[in-house]
Subunit: 357 residues, 2 copies
């Protein structure tokens, strides 16, 4: 049985403990310095402070499965001893902290599995983005074995054993197969891919586009003057989103086969949580500042990742490497987020003539 | 201003009158022999008997827009005089009737626009499917100009002016541009494509796969013992569906660019009506016979189209032209519909290893 040391006790870092424990493995859940409350609560009760599910209308904390122990950050070095896997469970906002404080401590022979999804500027000033695993490697002189998880999977539904299929991506097929043997259960199905850039890109992009599809929810609310949804407009935006995501995936050097994980992830994100909330508010006609005022205190990874992706496309287009007219939906989202523009879906720009002999 | 003679006064044939009338055109809504009640009701009230929307929780008939007149089938020949467009608004079940009774009457210079979506066996016994417009042409000695509509668009939301983007497909770009000039409004956006096979294939496939995604809704209901949805499993099925749809599109001779209309259409179909209902019942554990017993009297185009597509793939595989192991989700749906099997999502068959240097 494997010992998994997790750093970051947030929802996804904690949620992925469920399939590991279903298979009888041991998970040492180590909080970052920001996770003290979660760890304290977990030590005292065995329940998770923030990972919750709906039980007959009430949000109820999950009891963490047998095999999980809770640890504060000052125990991290101790907990690293004897670990077979280091699981990176920080959010995108914790990425720099993880790279600076944790990556240098990782032994060369300890495989890393990261649930932190995303892409970041490669620092060359050209607009090219690289995946988080590629970025993490830059902070170590050792040759690390960093793998990542992509695909449709919200933490609270994973903890609830709702079946899904995700992708584990990394450079070494043998490591991937071994990680799969640890995590695969009858509710957590795993494809494997060496296209790290593609899987991370596809699942990072869904943030921007889930926000875009959610605009239609807000537009319906506004038009109807009530909590009512139309699906034609959501569906048309979903189709346009899929089309732009494929182009972006190619642009950032991913492989086409990774698109399906991004499309699945887009679907689940449209129906989950905070990204939908801000998209709906923007769709109802609020500008970004007004929407954030309403969502006081909410941290939105999706906003950061969206801005980063859209900025990258603009910079690539300035070098002639991308054509921004191919990404009208992403550019509209960019104007909403960075220019405080009001929603005005550029429907006509989506229209395309496909004429061939 | 154009005169559009519509044959078939069902929901979609009638719904597409809305954008045409928004633009000031005239629509002669001619019922098939099965539409007498709709026509009688329309003549008496100006409202549509079956095209309804939710008004504060009550299903309420739409008033048909100014410019629409109602006609019984015996007026069809008269109504064809002076028409600029013949709109085919029959369902898949009316296709044979349309081909035998209407197609031979169509003048060579009268463009046809069809909202009837689908693919049908090409009659060669090999399993190859052709699009409805290709099939319709077989029933005329004249060279007809048959165009069709694909993409995400439910009739009642179109009548409700919810924005969407669809594809008009046909062989002649000039006809397509002219049809677009008739129908394009600020809530009905139109891309054009000469890939008739691809657009029709993509939107036909969504029937099978919307049923597949809906299985997850029923599975959640059953597991929870209440009306509660999980989205991880829906999303994973949606991703697998998109992947299989792309492969099928290529298999049946469509072009990749038509996929996005199918994905949008898949999304809207998951949330609309009868296909979701039967998928949910099958997901809850009923077999097909039990589910149909519950849905007494409901006609399901999706079932017909699903069976036809799945059978075609099996026949193509028998000739070595397709590999059924690439379509595990479609094959599971086939076993549910034609073998009365119980739901058992083949999750492991979705898993793929993408290893490349």
């Amino acid at each position: 049985m494997a010992v998994i040391t997790t750093i970051g006790a947030g929802m996804m870092g904690s949620g992925i403990a469920f399939p590991a424990c279903t298979n009888g493995h041991t998970v040492r859940l180590v909080g970052t310095p920001l996770d003290d409350k979660i760890i304290k609560y977990g030590k005292e009760t065995g329940y998770h402070l923030t990972l919750k599910h709906d039980v007959n209308g009430t949000q109820t904390s999950f009891k963490m499965p047998e095999g999980v122990s809770f640890h504060c950050y000052d125990e991290f070095s101790e907990m690293l001893k004897g670990a077979d896997i280091l699981l990176c469970g920080v959010s995108s906002f914790g990425l720099s902290w993880f790279c600076e404080n944790i990556v240098p401590l990782i032994p060369e022979d300890l495989p890393v599995l990261s649930v932190t999804k995303g892409m970041i500027d490669d620092g060359t000033g050209t607009g090219h983005l690289i995946s988080y695993p590629e970025y993490m490697q830059c902070f170590s002189k050792k040759k690390l074995n960093i793998n990542a998880v992509g695909g449709p999977c919200t933490s609270y539904e994973l903890a609830d054993h709702d079946p899904t299929e995700v992708a584990f991506c990394g450079k070494d097929p043998e490591t991937l197969k071994w990680l799969k043997s640890i995590y695969e259960t009858d509710y957590y199905h795993i494809s494997l891919s060496t296209d790290v850039r593609g899987v991370e890109c596809a699942v990072a992009l869904k943030n921007a586009y889930a926000l875009a599809v959610s605009l239609a929810v807000g537009l319906s609310h506004k038009r109807e003057g009530r909590d009512f949804q139309h699906y034609n407009s959501q569906a048309a935006l979903f189709g346009q989103a899929s089309k732009e995501m494929e182009k972006l995936l190619m642009l950032f050097g991913g492989r086409h086969e990774s698109l399906w994980f991004g499309i699945g992830d887009l679907y689940v994100t449209v129906f989950g949580g905070r990204t939908r909330k801000i998209g709906t508010l923007l769709g109802e006609g609020l500008n970004y500042d007004e929407a954030m005022e309403k969502l006081k205190g909410v941290t939105l990874e999706s906003i950061v990742i969206t801005g980063r992706t859209a900025d990258a496309v603009v910079r690539l287009s300035e070098s002639g490497l991308a054509d921004i007219s191919e990404f009208p939906l992403l550019m509209h989202i960019r104007s909403l987020l960075s220019e405080n523009a009001k929603v005005d879906i550029p429907w006509s720009d989506f229209e395309t003539d496909y004429f061939q002999a």
